[in-house]
């Protein structure tokens, strides 16, 4: 099965630019899609998880997953749109354990909650820190500036 055939089942939209494939997935379908990509299409590696804040437009956050298939020599970018008033999405840790720290970083920096994450704590900022630094409404000079 090729990647595009496989993604027919899940993709809300897809685009290919600069040689990179981006696929938008409904947030509730994320874990199912990841599971399918890993086990049916040999995407062995989760390369990174991050987010983009589109403040003030809604849905505010894009959660971005970069996947790599070593066997097929392919990469794909998955995107889920998450609303800003209640940013929440399922955790991909049950598919790849590496998602653990990657998602903790996104939680720390953007305040997006990952459901069913085994250990959702801040990872880079101190535990008692207020706010999420990579949000666009967080001032560059810090909260007290």
């Amino acid at each position: 099965m090729t990647l595009s055939e496989g993604l027919e089942l899940f993709a809300l939209s897809r685009s290919e630019r600069l040689g990179e494939l981006t696929v938008e997935i409904a947030p509730e379908k994320l874990v199912e899609t990841c599971h399918f990509l890993k086990h049916e299409l040999q995407f062995e590696r989760l390369s990174s998880v991050t987010a983009v804040d589109r403040y003030p437009s809604e849905p505010r956050f894009e959660v971005v997953y970069h996947l790599q298939s070593i066997a097929r020599k392919e990469r794909v970018r998955l995107k889920c749109l998450v609303r800003g008033d209640h940013p929440e999405i399922d955790s991909a840790t049950i598919v790849w354990r590496s998602a653990n720290w990657f998602e903790r970083e996104v939680f720390d920096m953007f305040g997006i909650h990952f459901r069913n994450h085994p250990d959702l704590r801040r990872i880079l900022m101190p535990d008692d820190w207020d706010g999420h630094p990579l949000r666009k409404d967080y001032p560059i000079a810090g909260p007290r500036a």
Binding site: R17, V52, W101
Partner: protein, 408 residues
Amino acid sequence: MSEQENSSAVLTPSEADAPPARRKMTLNMGPQHPSTHGVLRLVLELDGETILSATPDIGYLHTGIEKEFEEKLYQQGVTLTDRIDYLAPLSNNLCYCLAAEKLLELEIPPKAQWMRVMLTELTRLNSHLVWLGTHAIDIGAMSVFLYCFREREEILRIFEMFSGQRMMTSYFRIGGLALAPPRGWRERVKKFIDVFPSRVDEYENLLTNNQIFMGRTQGVGYMSLEDMLDLGITGPMLRAAGLALDARKQEPYSGYEKFDFTIPTRTESDVFARYQVRVEEMRQSARIVNQALEGMPEGPHTADAPKVVLPEREKMKTQMESLIYHFKIVTEGFRVPAGEVYQIIESPRGELGYYMVSDGTSKPYRVHIHGPSFGNLQGLPKMIEGSMIADVIASLGSMDFVLGDTDR
């Protein structure tokens, strides 16, 4: 409070009756422990000398570089990338520039590409030399460090010759190189790379058949390939587990497909195998540098893109148009077409990725750096749980992480 009252408040009656050696102990390793190479804190739970669980605590070196990118012009961002992985600044320069160049759809002239390959391979040597020297010290082989830093010093002098800086080089810029290569660079690099393989022999003489080194590293820090892929580990660690995954071969960038080199692998997946892989990588990097020296193309060192690349000083003073471009680039920067890219390169530590999102202005909307050390460090608990406390030092060293790269 007496000692007895204190301990009974912490321990349950059955635990208090147990002999002291059977009690669990929590040990804080770091954040200032010398063998953590930076500021990493490990919370180790011990039963005697056996590690029951390990919890890495990172973030001590978090500097908010990703946030900073959003406030800087594209060309200013280059200087931030040096400071992420401070043992491989040119690898970070390269990845950042490649990402921006992909968005701009810029064609980079061959000379700049080859120069970039040559200098990033020297960076790999630099990084591996620091790793080897410090790793050997951690295990107790003091003298290797002195040998490694002798060669590293010469590499830093070469960097200084090219860029004026030993460590924070910022020598790669969007569109090419910051400066034309200096007079005499070829002889300098040639002189170094001609003797380098014999220097690697010297390190190997000190370590490869050294019974103490073998005893401390063979069979230590084992991890299966499946666990590594699942936990996001890349680079020499993965190759020491048997998988020849290297972005220079899998997804060539900057002209790596034109070079002849091999990807060393081992299958033992222990600390010693990682040592062997990195030492062989040094030899391969020296081969690449040699090929770059021999086949270095002639031509310009920057792309023909006057709106992006600063004009030469001479032209700026004699041509009106160049002066205008110079003024515009310096004051307001250049606009990058809207879009997003995820650029991968093989840094000395593994897969380095820059995810760059542009909204069409002269500052990046978002830059995410996927540092190889971040993914690699995540595998640490799996590697050391169940092993002895002395092996933690060897295992940590074999991961070769840089905390600046982890915390960004």
